[in-house]
Symmetry: C4
Subunit: 279 residues, 4 copies
């Protein structure tokens, strides 16, 4: 049986490094986030907010045109692409270091077409984070993961059941680890104590609060995983640091709040990361 | 003559419980809010804000499409459904724990059609909060309340006159209690000292300030009643706690403000509820 | 020669009264603000913000439909009416205690039609505040002021030249007073030291800072005059209190800011008015 | 070899003067900002925010109509013009003290047409700030700079390569100075240590932090250069003060933040400028 390692505060110092003086926005990665139907526009806004506030260099959001104004109201720092104009989105996706697909994507035909198109163009050296309805879509369509990108899945337990075929009750660390390894993916199974599977390693988060039990928390985490992996070289550790930071900020806010709003976590990132960076 | 019980701070500890560690967003309820015409979009935004900030697990807002961006600017955490697409709204309403209908709904034919459609599909186990123009519509059309849902009405005194037929001058606790009992509904009659009628019980709030005398206060209360009844099992007590919290937060803000803005009450909820929760 | 009286802090206590416990939103007046073309939408948003934050009971904004979302993003508390639907606006204007017309109204034909339509329906007991391009329009078209409403004009010096025919260099207190008296209007001539003309009285403000020299200050003042006259019985004194409060808040903010943004004045009103109310 | 002078805190006191009591918004300049395609709307919002918060008297933003609401959500203080209506924009540009063109402008035909049209109408006494994609457009089309306006270019190093033909590796102070002098322009070459070229003078900034390495920083600087040159008479010094203030605010924020958001710099300007003004 594989040993489950704890994700603790020490991961922050290993990952979040003082920025070198002579760096520029390209140093911190290009990230594209794809999602946000007319019904779920808030999800992609929250994911994009997390990506920008965690320090990604350049952020582009590919979404339904009805979300353009909401995006810029929260985040003038993000660029916008209409998800009906794939010709326009394609070169931006191809040039990205990190692609996040799924927050508020929905499960209709257009969403599935987008998912397939992205899967076809991602390539070696790119990190692909698959979240939310993108996971449901790939499970229900038996869509294989892209071969060349480094794939990171961020399901909650029900989505993980769909993707892995393992029922929630049977989602033991061992079973999950084997399924993740077969997928050649880093898998973040979100729950009360989120677990991360990477190769033969299993990690379990030590933070998290029931004040986080509200819509949008997962979208925020997906955006943070994007922002962290865009900036920090060691991708598995960057994922662990994103998972830990998400819950640690929530734990801190929950000392004074009955419920923590997802956007508050993003807005807390710049100060949290400053405090916890290594020299 | 029925005794009028005071609603005091003690209701908060009875209702607002420390959240169990192993809970998730489903634990805190699904809530759908329906309202917000092109003219009154701010009302449904304010009600939705109150629902999310009081801690409801998943919030969907069914409104005029012209309000989509305003909703997400205030609240990326809420999902959006165009109220012209009832096919899309229907399964979400059917799966909800709580439905709030009325804030900014308006009184035109489309509004009335929506109200009737909602009344037809609500069922046992669901809580239905009827507010604002929905009350005017049901009164003017003699629309009977749904039989199976737990119905909560939140009229101001003039709306209560329309619904109950009791003129404002004649709205004594006894008269109101009888009318509420006949309706088999929990009735919240909003005024300087808001009263709550539930079966044979009559409750009167002890808080409230003239700084609250501004448009949108009622919409915020309706959203809070939604958020509280979605999370807390004992529905009558949850209503009392929402009423008390609404006025207690306003009283606190009014110690420093000549007028209290409704959205400030919602934004104060997470800290207020944290302070007043029972272990 | 008429004596110029100083507007000082003592006006606040005369006007801003502690609100009676048993009051409701109707107690604090219904106000309609009309303005905001596609180009100048921010102006009517700023005026509306000032009206709501000064404590008006019910605020409706009649504006270009392209401003609907901006209005609700700043102010879910305000109701919205498309200014192309005058049938819809008319009964709301007729039922209002105060009408503000002009902020961002523009000077095209549609704007002039609106101005004429409003002038035709206002009646005794209503207060009509005429600001910005509405003043330019009435001057260039020799449109007479309505006979029955209590009219309040809020020109800057160039607008006052257009309306009164008095060149800026000749705008002495005496000349201005005579012109204002002939118009049977309260006139607020905005400048470094704003003056207010009411009948035979001349008042000069004692506050104001060059940090206020930025677009939108006048729109905010017009909204405040609306909010104050909606709530406080003595209209001339309410105007003086609005003028004084506007500059006193700016003076306070300018102790720490090189420039004061108009929306900051509005957001400071609830606390400022609380501090300066009479018991 | 020309000596490189350091840009230090002392520039602030030379430029930012206590405002004279008897001044008005015209005193602080009219500024027009042109940019913001559908994809890059946030850029022109951020530039406009910087212009208003640095104290420009009157700000008009000429942009894609899809950005109208985002602009007013951040900035009701700015006026809006649809960039497809050049007839409407033209007199406003002609009357401006300062024109900023480029933030989020894009490089399509419409953008190029706008750039050419602006170059044709600017005239003596006006300051023209050319930023972002406007620089790419003029380089790729060999468009000569306007003869009569005072031109200020704000390229990053790659844009400067395009404009000057000097490869990044060869961008020595001497080479840059000669190229800038030939262009008869003030050139701000943005990098880790931003340099300013003006005639035979070379200046190098002493502030700046890697926390600024995020999209939108340049747009904010362009807006600040606009705001400072609109208000302060000595244009070269106003440019230096804008460059220094931008980095000094970022340095201060970076004492507590891992990443600094561009809009935070703008929002910090009123207090920063107050602290650093000369009596």
């Amino acid at each position: 049986m594989v040993k489950v390692k704890k994700i603790t505060k020490s991961i922050l110092n290993e990952v979040i490094r003082k920025r070198p003086a002579n760096s520029f926005k390209g140093t911190y990665g290009k990230i594209v986030l794809i999602g946000g139907s007319q019904n779920f526009g808030g999800a992609i806004v929250m994911a994009s907010l997390a990506a920008v506030y965690s320090g990604a260099g350049l952020v582009t959001t590919v979404t339904d045109p009805s979300n353009q104004t909401s995006l810029h109201d929260w985040l003038p720092e993000a660029m916008f692409v209409d998800w009906n104009q794939f010709d326009h989105a394609k070169p931006i996706i191809e040039a990205a270091d990190v692609i996040v697909i799924g927050p508020g994507l929905g499960t209709d035909n257009h969403a599935f077409d987008l998912l397939k198109a992205v899967f076809q163009i991602v390539k070696k050296g790119q990190k692909l984070i698959i979240d939310g309805s993108a996971l449901t879509l790939l499970a229900s369509n038996n869509l294989p993961l892209p071969k060349d990108s480094l794939n990171i899945l961020t399901p909650h337990q029900m989505e993980w059941q769909r993707v892995s075929g393992i029922k929630i009750a049977d989602q033991t660390p061992d079973a999950n680890q084997k399924a993740a390894e077969q997928l050649h993916a880093i898998v973040v199974v979100k729950s009360h104590r989120t677990q991360v599977y990477e190769g033969t390693d299993i990690f379990e988060n030590t933070g998290g609060t029931p004040a986080q039990a509200t819509g949008g928390m997962g979208d925020t985490l997906a955006g943070m995983v994007g922002g962290f992996t865009a900036q920090f070289k060691d991708t598995p550790k960057a994922v662990l640091a994103a998972v830990y930071s998400h819950s640690a900020i929530a734990d801190k806010l929950a000392e004074k709040q009955y419920v923590v709003l997802p956007h508050q976590i993003s807005e807390s990132l710049p100060k949290f990361m400053h405090k916890n960076q290594a020299e």
